[in-house]
């Protein structure tokens, strides 16, 4: 019984962590472009896509 008291909260917490992670990724727009995500792994270039360039005053 003591084992259960320990294991059940652990199991639930792990499940909840997964759920929270999923919600976070949904909010973050990671499900916006599933085809693109699948393809992006195949882009084999050394230079990453351009992020912010320095501001030119």
């Amino acid at each position: 019984m003591t084992g259960l008291a320990f294991l059940i909260p652990v199991a639930l917490l792990m499940g909840l962590t997964g759920l929270v992670a999923f919600f976070w990724s949904l909010r973050n727009g990671q499900f916006e472009d599933l085809d693109g995500a699948a393809a992006r792994i195949l882009i084999d270039d050394e230079e990453l896509p351009v992020e912010t360039k320095g501001e030119r005053g």
Partner: protein
């Protein structure tokens, strides 16, 4: 702070639609090309929507971005806001699906312990935990169904969601009562599983609609929506919706008109096939009226806009289409027809069970418990999955073959077709002039290389078609110098010190032709014609084998139609106006036929909207693509019978799925009514029936293949 002067240039984001992107290397190319432009902060491709979002300085305009992409071979347009895709149907369902999945798995874990013999206080604790997880999850994940059921009830209707909602709410209430009174059985696991399976079905259904729409949306925005307008000494690009009567458009060869107008200078030939189906180009000169959607074939002309937007011939056809498409919205999808029968049947059974046990003297509580078990066990999971899974698998198989399906009901309608009417220009034929294969084969190797090199310097439709045909033959281009294109007179250049030219013939020949003129060699004539699509006869035979009678319905002149009719052994009606086409379809429908319309032009729009099902090639006018249920991207005509055969196979599988789901209920319901169903049996029975339906649907993955000869 807010009123401080801007520190840097203001930033803008622009969304470009790039229909040509389809793979990882395209994405990389597009992002790199845009990122290399000075003033671009970031470029990110969304492959699903075939778009790229660019963040850039305000000083950088759309033409520069479009130019950078066309330099690497990707045509693109800024996204027109009113054509922005509607929000995805999948997204709002993903969170409920995840919650149902999480809760279902955890509650199932606890339930397994109960089934394996947890007793007394342990069982009560597990039930309480299940309730703590299950009730919030059921409330959250069930909202989708509760909302839709409530809306139906408020309007005095019923739908599939009504029995689901009633079953879910009753089962949850009963389980909570059992938990609080130290009962033996709780149904949280079954309720959650039901929600999980149903939501999975909904998500699949929505996914298919999203995916089809993304592809079609990208196509719809392909049409060049604008024109170069001649202003005071400058030429500016103006989007079609901003064109006003009186403006003068400069239309280069190979460009489509964006508005109706009349020629003010220059002379050329215009291809009207998209408007009327006529395959022969018509010569136009100063003073002639021309219409939006026509393609300029030869030389640049200036056109004064006489009508734009809702006054054009285009808009006229659109109005006819709207009237023609009325009846199609009345089509009821098979899943909805099934649920109309299903809901009353289930409720009647549950009520009968309750009454029966009351009469047998089991007491209200026990009778209610058994009645709820009946509601849960007749779970429509398998029914809810029967249609969407089959349609999603089939749509995926078709998509891999380059055929896009607008929605599931399109397949249901397509499966019942017994007559097919095919437009000629652009549907049976490729809709573009292609060079005579024999003339190309007869060219010596060096002459072919020169022809390819010359043609690659021109935007003339004949030249572009020549480049495409020779590229497919594997010809390499020769080295040329001093290349210049004279509009209306072809391309001239030097090759190994000799003058070479690709130009129009000196004497009139029947149809379209180019002459390859190499100094010191005889002139070579290359004839062009609008040829039948590859595999046309094979495709028509496949249709006939399926019991579908094809015939031609074209707006082209009778002589041209008769020629194609002879080559394909079909009956034909030529010279048909958009209204004639519409009437031909209504006549056949009046005779009890289910008619498929295959067409590409604006003149086919009303017919496409009126037919029982419709299919258009990807090269069709945007009106045609909008009205069609299916859009095929390949050149081969086999796409049409393939879409038919796949739709029929899909409906066969859907009917089998219904049979399986109903068979399961026939077995399970007597058990439930006899009060012999425990939560364990319910869980096993429910998941098995759903898995069988999914497995049966997966057989469709191979559905889009040709019949074995």
């Amino acid at each position: 702070m807010a009123s401080a002067a801007p520190m840097t240039q203001s930033h803008e984001t622009t969304t470009l639609v790039v229909p040509g992107m389809h793979c990882a290397s395209c994405m990389g190319k597009v992002e790199r090309a845009l990122g290399a432009l000075p003033g671009v902060q970031s470029a990110r491709v969304n492959l699903t929507a075939r778009q790229v979002n660019v963040a850039h300085d305000a000083g950088l305009g759309v033409p520069e971005l479009v130019g950078a992409l066309s330099a690497i071979g990707f045509p693109s347009q800024p996204r027109v806001e009113e054509l922005a895709p509607p929000p995805s149907a999948v997204k709002p369902l993903l969170a409920p699906l995840a919650v149902a999945g999480f809760a279902c798995m955890n509650v199932m874990l606890l339930s397994v312990s109960i089934w394996s013999g947890a007793e007394g206080s342990t069982r009560d604790l597990f039930h309480l935990l299940s309730a703590a997880i299950g009730i919030p999850a059921i409330l959250y994940a069930g909202r989708v169904f509760f909302a839709s059921a409530w809306a139906a009830l408020r309007h005095g209707r019923t739908n599939m969601d009504v029995p689901i909602s009633i079953g879910v709410i009753l089962a949850t209430g009963l389980s909570l009562y059992e938990t609080l009174t130290h009962g033996q059985e709780a149904w949280f696991d079954g309720t959650l599983m039901l929600l999980l399976f149903l939501l999975a079905g909904r998500v699949l259904d929505a996914m298919m609609r999203d995916r089809a729409r993304a592809g079609v949306d990208a196509l719809l925005r392909q049409a060049a929506p604008g024109a170069m307008v001649v202003g005071k000494g400058a030429v500016d690009w103006v989007p079609a919706r901003d064109l006003l009567p009186g403006m003068v458009m400069r239309v280069a060869s190979g460009e489509r008109l964006a508005a109706d107008g009349e020629i003010v200078s220059g002379a050329s030939r215009f291809d009207r096939s998209l408007l009327t189906g006529e395959s022969a180009a018509v010569p136009v000169a100063q003073g002639d009226a021309v219409h939006a959607g026509m393609l300029n074939m030869d030389a640049p002309v200036d056109v004064r806009v006489t009508a734009a937007g809702s006054d054009t011939t285009l808009a006229e056809i659109a109005r006819t289409m709207e009237a023609a498409g009325q009846h199609r919205s009345a089509y009821v999808r098979i899943a909805d027809r099934a649920s109309r029968l299903y809901a009353p049947a289930v409720h009647t059974l549950a009520a009968l069970t309750f009454i029966g046990w009351m009469v047998a003297g089991a007491g209200a509580y026990a009778s209610l418990k058994i009645a709820i078990a009946v509601l849960i066990i007749t779970c429509p999971c398998a029914l809810g999955l029967a249609v969407p899974v089959a349609q999603v698998v089939a749509a995926g198989a078709l998509m891999r073959r380059g055929i896009m399906v607008k929605d599931g009901s399109a397949m249901e309608r397509m499966a019942r077709i017994d007559r097919a009417l095919l437009d000629k220009t652009g549907t049976l034929t490729l809709g573009r002039p292609t060079p005579d294969p024999q003339a190309l084969a007869a060219l010596p190797a060096d002459a072919a290389q020169v022809a390819l090199a010359l043609a690659s310097h021109s935007r003339h439709p004949l030249s572009r078609s020549l480049v495409e045909a020779m590229g497919a033959m594997g010809v390499l281009a020769a080295e040329l110098t001093q290349v210049e294109e004279v509009p209306g007179h072809g391309v001239h250049a030097l090759w190994q010190g000799r003058r070479v030219a690709l130009r129009r013939p000196d004497t009139a020949v029947g149809g379209m032709a180019s002459v390859l003129d190499i100094e010191g060699q005889p002139l070579r004539l290359i004839l062009f014609a609008d040829r039948l699509r590859p595999d046309a006869n094979q495709a028509l035979d496949w249709m006939r084998a399926m019991g579908v009678e094809p015939s031609i319905l074209s707006g082209d002149a009778m002589a041209a139609v008769a020629e194609v009719a002879r080559a394909t052994h079909m009956t034909a009606q030529g010279h048909a106006s958009p209204v004639d086409k519409l009437e031909a379809i209504q006549r056949l429908q009046g005779a009890g036929h289910h008619v498929l319309m295959a067409g590409d032009g604006l003149n086919d729009g009303p017919a496409l909207a009126a037919a029982h099902a419709s299919i258009a090639p990807g090269t069709a006018s945007d009106v045609g693509r909008q009205a069609a249920d299916f859009v095929f991207l390949s050149d081969s005509l086999l796409a049409i019978p393939r879409a038919m055969a796949t739709s029929r196979a899909t409906m066969r599988v859907v009917r089998q799925n219904f049979g399986l789901a109903i068979g399961y209920n026939v077995l399970a319901v007597p058990l439930a009514m006899a009060g012999m169903v425990t939560p364990l049996i319910a869980a096993v029975a429910m998941s098995t029936s759903s898995l069988i339906v999914i497995g049966n649907s997966l057989r469709l993955a191979m559905a889009a293949r040709e019949p074995k000869a």
